[in-house]
Symmetry: C2
């Protein structure tokens, strides 16, 4: 089966490109003595996770407990869940999973630490705790190195939990210094910090510039997307994920409509500002995917010398690979257009 045989819209993943991307990031990490812990949230596929482990990754990062359960079921035995797990049900599932695999959680509160400990202890289970630090992105994370040290000390005293390190996302200039200062304060309290972990594809290859960092968590690098192109961290040849779409209407000479809208590509913007395209059309780089309805991609083709016709199939590189993948129950894995497998996106939509 060739990609051309698939109806549209259909997301496709070029395995040759994925292997190259995975090898290249592993080489970077190896060259700088960094542990690589890929984030599965991008691909959500056990097969690609296996490829990352074979290349040299130390373990996996998941964003949701449900993703971690799927990966554990497939035999992956070292998993960090980089999201605060809140509530008794999640604490119990976390503790059960900790009996099966080497597990850790990234979180920023005593409430989460206590709740997980309370579920781990009666089971005789042990899990790692990574103190989540806000080094400037203003999402989750403790606000100061001192707060990190206080939480670390509290975690150290809780049964079932083991302090394993510090994490932040995304990597920003100075995050290494922030985390290193927190480590110093924690070590002053007589505790050990094994891992300083940073995340995010955009600054991945600047990780060695951040003092003290030992681990890199990245997801998007395996597929890349239009944001990576815009940020200059990937070229067109590095973009493994593309959504095949058909031109279904050409109402005017300047406008073409695709059968891929926000339900195939997401409304995730190219950058956090208005305007911009909702994906790059590889065959028509001058075209702008200027708006998305749920099922329609609105394309301005005024700048294109040749104009697409009804029935023509094009390939769109989504703005945001992780979000786009999450919309699809299956992806076509291929090499040079030969479909290797229609793979179920097993960890898709696992929100809990």
């Amino acid at each position: 089966v060739r990609l051309d045989d698939l109806d549209t819209p259909f997301p496709t993943v070029d395995l040759d490109v994925v292997e190259r991307n995975v090898a290249s990031m592993q080489e970077y990490c190896d060259a700088h003595g960094l542990a690589l812990r890929p984030h599965v949230k991008t691909h959500k596929l056990p097969a690609i996770a296996a490829l990352q482990l074979r290349a040299g990754a130390v373990g996996l990062t998941c964003q949701k407990l449900g993703e971690a359960e799927v990966m554990a079921h497939h035999g992956f035995d070292d998993i960090l869940i980089s999201f605060p797990l809140v509530g008794e049900r999640k604490a119990e599932r976390f503790a059960e999973l900790a009996l099966a695999v080497r597990l850790a959680v990234g979180a920023d509160s005593a409430a989460v630490a206590r709740s997980l400990s309370a579920a781990l202890e009666p089971r005789g289970a042990l899990a790692g705790f990574i103190v989540d630090c806000d080094t400037g992105f203003r999402r989750t994370g403790v606000q100061t190195p001192n707060a990190a040290a206080e939480l670390a000390e509290l975690v150290d005293g809780l049964p079932g939990l083991e302090l394993r390190g510090l994490m932040t996302h995304p990597s920003r200039p100075g995050c290494g210094a922030w985390l290193s200062e927190a480590r110093r304060l924690i070590e002053e309290r007589g505790l050990r910090v094994d891992s300083l972990s940073v995340g995010g594809t955009p600054r991945a290859r600047d990780t060695h510039l951040e003092s003290g960092v030992t681990e890199l968590r990245v997801g998007t690098y395996a597929y890349n997307d239009a944001r990576c192109l815009a940020g200059g961290t990937a070229t067109l040849d590095d973009c493994a994920l593309r959504v095949r779409a058909t031109v279904v209407s050409t109402p005017t000479a300047e406008r073409a409509i695709l059968d891929a809208g926000s339900k195939a590509l997401t409304n995730d913007p190219l950058v956090q500002s208005p305007g911009g395209s909702f994906g790059l059309i590889a065959e028509y780089p001058e075209a702008t995917l200027y708006a998305l309805s749920e099922e329609h991609g609105h394309v301005d083709v005024a700048a294109c010398e040749r104009r697409p016709e009804i029935g023509e199939v094009v390939t769109v590189i989504p703005n945001h690979a992780c979000g786009a993948v999450n919309l699809h129950d299956e992806v076509a894995l291929h090499r040079s257009g030969d479909v290797v497998e229609i793979a179920a996106v097993e960890a898709r939509g696992l929100l809990r």
Copy 2:
């Protein structure tokens, strides 16, 4: 089981509210002699479609062939697919479906009409064709009433296809006059136009102001969403769809983080302009859901007198019900918080 017993994030649908919304729109249509053909793209649930038919709807609207196949499988026998079906595979599936149910397609090109006819004719199948008209939204649709008449005449000459009417989306002031002029031109050619169909919840209750319109296609009205609130066509009590989410981090006094991000709510903006919230938090109407990561909802709670705590469950009304529903494999149908059914969103993710 109560809603409180469900882990988060979890989308919930209040059936009492849905029934009220459905009855109210049916009353409007009945009062003005309009046929109501609800769009299933919002709920994607056979159970809610059945409720709409029982209330008096004449049939269903689907956006994708896959959605129509699911609905036909559940016994719904009058379906309009309001999207141009392009390609041989879709033409064949369309023709097969036309053997089983009363089927129509909305499209704007001779290419689509010819392709569908070529698949219908050898099967001895008959399907309706609705000429899709661009009355100002600039998505799909023929550009002039005269172009509508030309396409109508071409369709009339194609075996397997039956000209049934004209459609536009969304309803805009003057669309009735546009469609009526097209009908006049078509009737001049000796052809009959049974249906003038307009779509969209925002102007649904102005449909009677548009001369000549005979049918209303609406989806969002069954659930409503934050866009409907912003547009003034719904009140908080009319919002049937809410996503339960948990506060998982309160890194500062002004910021709370929810476990519902773009993978639970979509990045669909409130309006087509920057800024605005990514959903309304019912318990904290002063709060702003100012950004979404995939799994994180970033909430500014500075304006809230009482601040949410870690572990607290809140209910979010998404900006866009249709997009949000499409992210979830299941929704909790409830009455006054009592869960009636955890329903599989059967027509979810059917992109082809």
